[in-house]
Symmetry: C2
Subunit: 352 residues, 2 copies
Amino acid sequence: MKVAPAPEAFTADALQRWVAAVLATQGMDAAAATVGAKVMVRTSLRGIDTHGVSRLPGYVDRLASGEINPRAAPRFENHHGLLRCDGDGGLGQLVATAAIDRAMAQARSTAVVPCGIVHAGHLAALGTFVLTAAESGFFALLCQRTPPIMAMPGSRGPVIGNNPIAFAVPVPGQAPLVFDMAHSVVARGHVMQAQREGAQTIPGDWALGPDGRPTTDPALALKGAMQPMAGHKGLGLAMLVECLAGSLNGVIADPPGQATASLQGSAADVSAFLIVINPALAIGQDAFDVSIGAWMQAFRDGSGPGSRYPGQRQASCEAQRLADGIPIPAGLRAELRQLGARVGHPFDLLPL
Amino acid sequence: MKVAPAPEAFTADALQRWVAAVLATQGMDAAAATVGAKVMVRTSLRGIDTHGVSRLPGYVDRLASGEINPRAAPRFENHHGLLRCDGDGGLGQLVATAAIDRAMAQARSTAVVPCGIVHAGHLAALGTFVLTAAESGFFALLCQRTPPIMAMPGSRGPVIGNNPIAFAVPVPGQAPLVFDMAHSVVARGHVMQAQREGAQTIPGDWALGPDGRPTTDPALALKGAMQPMAGHKGLGLAMLVECLAGSLNGVIADPPGQATASLQGSAADVSAFLIVINPALAIGQDAFDVSIGAWMQAFRDGSGPGSRYPGQRQASCEAQRLADGIPIPAGLRAELRQLGARVGHPFDLLPL
């Protein structure tokens, strides 16, 4: 049995400066590169390693190929009280940050600010965006349409995206509640990982083979579709996101058969839907705080010892990684070194 | 083995007139009684028999006891663009209809209209309300806070409601998409039914006993809590509803231990959250219709033969029951006869 080399840890500040510098080599201006780097590093700080700094090499490829527009300047329109943010094909981290910032500004005078988002790169971890809104006192909800990847048993192939959704609220005196999920039983990445690691089987409720039947074979699963969590309930909720993040933005779904192709399609055609709510205007800050405090206290008292609410584990992880650095495993370190060499900005950070 | 007597069927019109007349005997004026009766009968027409006319005897009891206010006049306030509907303790069917109507009226000039609802009776089938909005061309979302009834394994008792959510959108040339679910694996009614019918066991993922462990014993389950669908995912989504329908309305949760008591508490303290969206203002009617049509076509083509989208089965049921009448089983018939005799308005409808 091989033992993986220990990860080395780097400070968030150093990583952020390096990520921003790398993005700048692809034509992003310094301010935009810093926004993108901040979101990626924050995501890594929170322990969501699959959606943080590890995504940088892919983004750089897409910036280099022109799939992501390095000079993107998100534009806003107001459609009878509904904001629409056209991301101009920019990095998802940049576009969603612009949308959250604009919606929060508007929520200083309007209780509920809805905002459609189009022409963005992949948003990665939705929770990171709503977290920043909650840290500013807002209740925020963000959902994203993805290409079809899910289906119920009996289907001929993927029929709808796993359409992730996240929300966050401030919790008085505590870390914000941050909840972030997709509607598949597990992420497709788990099946890919199982295959990569040579696993013979996956649990039978994860995926379907190309014949539409549940399969335990990771290779068949990757040719089929992921199963929705809770069956028809997960499917129906994914439809809600399709309506909000897709149809309210005028997105036209690919016909069946071309669905898989669009997984590899333009990286900057993502659409999403955001709602930012100002509790102070909606019900009054005190009333909201007392209500959140009461039900979360009841939740904690009733749950078992050591129970946590969504967001607490990530907040602990962030505190620890701010102190001890963000661990970067050997494989990713090698990737970042290659990337740094390729773009002329070496990954020469000193581990903590 | 006893064979249950065949249900007799009655026309929707006759049932609606009778239900309205019964509500009027409890002090509701004719117009309000008709609104309440329409919602109940429509719910029965759609095949949701657990939440339709079968609920009438319970509502009459609560009207008689004063728990529901027969003279309720829902009031509206505007909080910086967020509507709030104070239901004045009225029948949930009346209050939610008033809220939907007001939100739709406002959505003629505003793309997205959010509306908090407080002091309402139990709303019953949320899908019935959003359906009517979709039939008028709107995209509507409605969720309701319930008393705590759910928990994860390891909990000391219920920690959060099953917090149902429903949405509906118009589908060009087809029945509206209507999706309506609660966040428990199954409704608590299934456990009650299992116990009533003398079943020894229920599936182990339905509920927890009072010790917080999954149980297959319906009696223990009724002393414990229901399990959320999809584990932590269902729990987190129930928290989203708690924030929207509870905290944005300033609702204060009962401390643990009193939670079960509140299941029997005032019948007219329900809070909910509604969003009505006008696609024509949000993105343009054509763009919305084309988008909905495209992804639903892809969904149907990719799903197996005979697959349906949420709402289709209920639409078929409604067409059939409009033609053949609403079947009322013998047990419910007897209840309605007793009720009619008690309020001085006999259930003397002739079956079809």
